[in-house]
Amino acid sequence: MTVAKRIIPCLDVDKGRVVKGVNFVNIKDAGDPVEIAKRYDDQGADELTMLDITASSETRDTTYKTVESIAGQVFIPLTVGGGVRATKDIKRLLRSGADKVSINTAAVNNPDFIKEAADKFGSQCIVVAVDAKATDDTFSSWEVVTYGGRERTGIDVVEWVNTVKEHGAGEILLTSMDRDGTKEGFDNKLTKAVSSSVSIPVIASGGAGTLQHLVDGIKEGGAEAVLAASIFHFSEFTVQEAKQAMLGSGLEVRN
C-alpha cells in the first residue's frame, strides 16, 4: 500500500465563471466556481485545480477572490494556474488560499523561474504544467507548446520534464493538446514516456471522455493522478462513479 491514485476535477475559469471548450474554442458556461468546487468536494474529489484561462491583469482580482472563496469552503488541496509569471503572483495566490501554483509559459520562457519559485516557496507547491503536441502522426515524440497550443517551441517533452524536475518542480501537470477536449482518452504513450522518466508525480490531462479513460491514464500511462473537466461539469459522471471504476479495476483510491 502506498499513496492513493488521485482524481482531480479541473475548473477552467473565465471572468469568475467556469467554462469548458474544445481545444480552448467553442467555450460553454458551466457555472459558478465555488458551487462547483463544493459539489466535487462532496463527491470525494481528491484535489481541485483551477485554471484562470483569461489571466489578464483586468480580471486578476476576480481570480484572487474566487481562490479565496473556494479555499474558505473546501478543505482539500487547491492548485491554481494561468498567468503566473513572477514570484509575486505565486505569493499572492498562496496567500489567497492556493496550496499549489501551476506555472506554464513563464517556465518555458525562463526555466530559472522554476528554481526561483521552488527555492522560495518549496517544491511541494510548484507544479509545472506541460502542454504537449505530437511531432508527427506516429505519436512517439512530443514537443512543448505554449499559449494554449498556438505556439510550438521545438523543445522535446521528455527532455523538458527532466529539466523541470532538476529545477525543483514538485509535480507535472501533463496535457496532451492533441487530445484536449476530444473525449478520445488521454495520450497514454505520452504520459508513460513522461512518468517513466521522472521521479516526481505526473498528472495526466487532456482527453478524458469515459471512466475507463481515467483508469487507463493510471494503468497504461503510469500517472499518479488524472485530471478531467467536462466529464464532471455536465454531470455525465460523478467523482464517486469515477472512484468506483478505479476501485473496480484494482487501483487504490481514497474512498
Partner: protein, 203 residues
C-alpha cells in the same frame, strides 16, 4: 474564551489552517499571529509549516522562538508538516539543521525506491500505533493528505505510521504535544474532525 494562536512566521499558506479551525470552532478565538505578546496569552497553539525547514527555523526571531517554546512545553500544541519536523532533533534538509529538540527523532530524506514518487504527495492511510484523544471519531487506516520530501522514520514518540515505500512516522505525541506530518486542513472531513478534537482537548 479559549484563545488559539496559529503561529505566523511569514511562511506559506496559513489561510487554510485558520479557515479549518474557524470551521470547527464554537466559542474559541482563532488568532493568526507573530506577535510574542499575543502568543503569550494563548491557551493553545498551532504550529504550521510550509516550505524549506531552514527558512521556517530562521523565520523564528529570538523573541518569537522563546515565547513559542515556552508554550510548547506547557499548552496543548498541534504541529503540522514542517511544524512537526521543527520539533524533532535535527533535519537533513538544507545541508543539515538543528531543530527544536522537543520530540524524539530525526528528519531524513524519504528513502528513494523504484516504486515510489517523491515528494510523497497525495492521500495515504495512517495506521495508529497508540490511542490518543485526537484520534476521537477517526477510524484507524483513514486517508489523510500528505505532501513532503523529508520524513521521520523512527521515534519513541510515534503514534501513527504510514507506508510510502518504507514506513514513515505520520504522527507523534508526547504530553501536551500532538504533531502530524500530514495536512489535516487539506484532509476534508476527517481533517476537520482532527481540528475539532484539538479544540476539545484538555490536558
Amino acid at each position: 474564551m479559549t484563545k488559539i494562536a496559529v503561529i505566523d512566521y511569514g511562511m506559506g499558506n496559513l489561510h487554510s489552517v485558520s479557515k479549518a479551525l474557524e470551521e470547527v470552532s464554537t466559542t474559541e478565538e482563532i488568532m493568526v499571529t507573530s506577535d510574542p505578546e499575543t502568543i503569550k496569552r494563548a491557551d493553545k497553539i498551532v504550529l504550521p509549516g510550509v516550505g524549506a525547514i531552514k527558512d521556517c527555523l530562521e523565520a523564528f526571531s529570538d523573541d518569537l522562538r522563546s515565547v513559542t517554546l515556552e508554550l510548547i512545553r506547557n499548552k496543548p500544541t498541534l504541529a503540522i508538516c514542517v511544524g512537526m519536523q521543527m520539533l524533532l532533533e535535527s533535519s537533513e534538509e538544507n545541508g543539515g539543521v538543528k531543530c527544536l529538540n522537543v520530540l524524539d527523532g530525526r528528519i531524513v530524506k524519504i528513502p528513494a525506491s523504484k516504486d515510489i514518487k517523491i515528494p510523497h504527495m497525495g492521500w495515504n492511510k495512517i495506521n495508529f500505533l497508540s490511542d490518543h484523544f485526537l484520534w476521537s471519531n477517526i477510524p484507524d487506516n483513514s486517508f489523510f493528505y500528505f505532501v513532503h520530501s523529508y520524513c521521520c522514520l523512527s521515534s519513541t514518540d510515534a503514534i501513527s505510521k504510514t507506508t510510502h515505500g518504507e514506513n514513515l512516522i505520520s504522527a507523534l505525541g508526547k504530553d501536551n504535544i500532538f504533531a502530524v506530518q500530514f495536512h489535516p486542513e487539506k484532509s476534508q472531513n476527517l481533517g476537520l474532525q482532527l481540528y475539532k478534537n484539538f479544540l476539545d482537548w484538555s490536558i
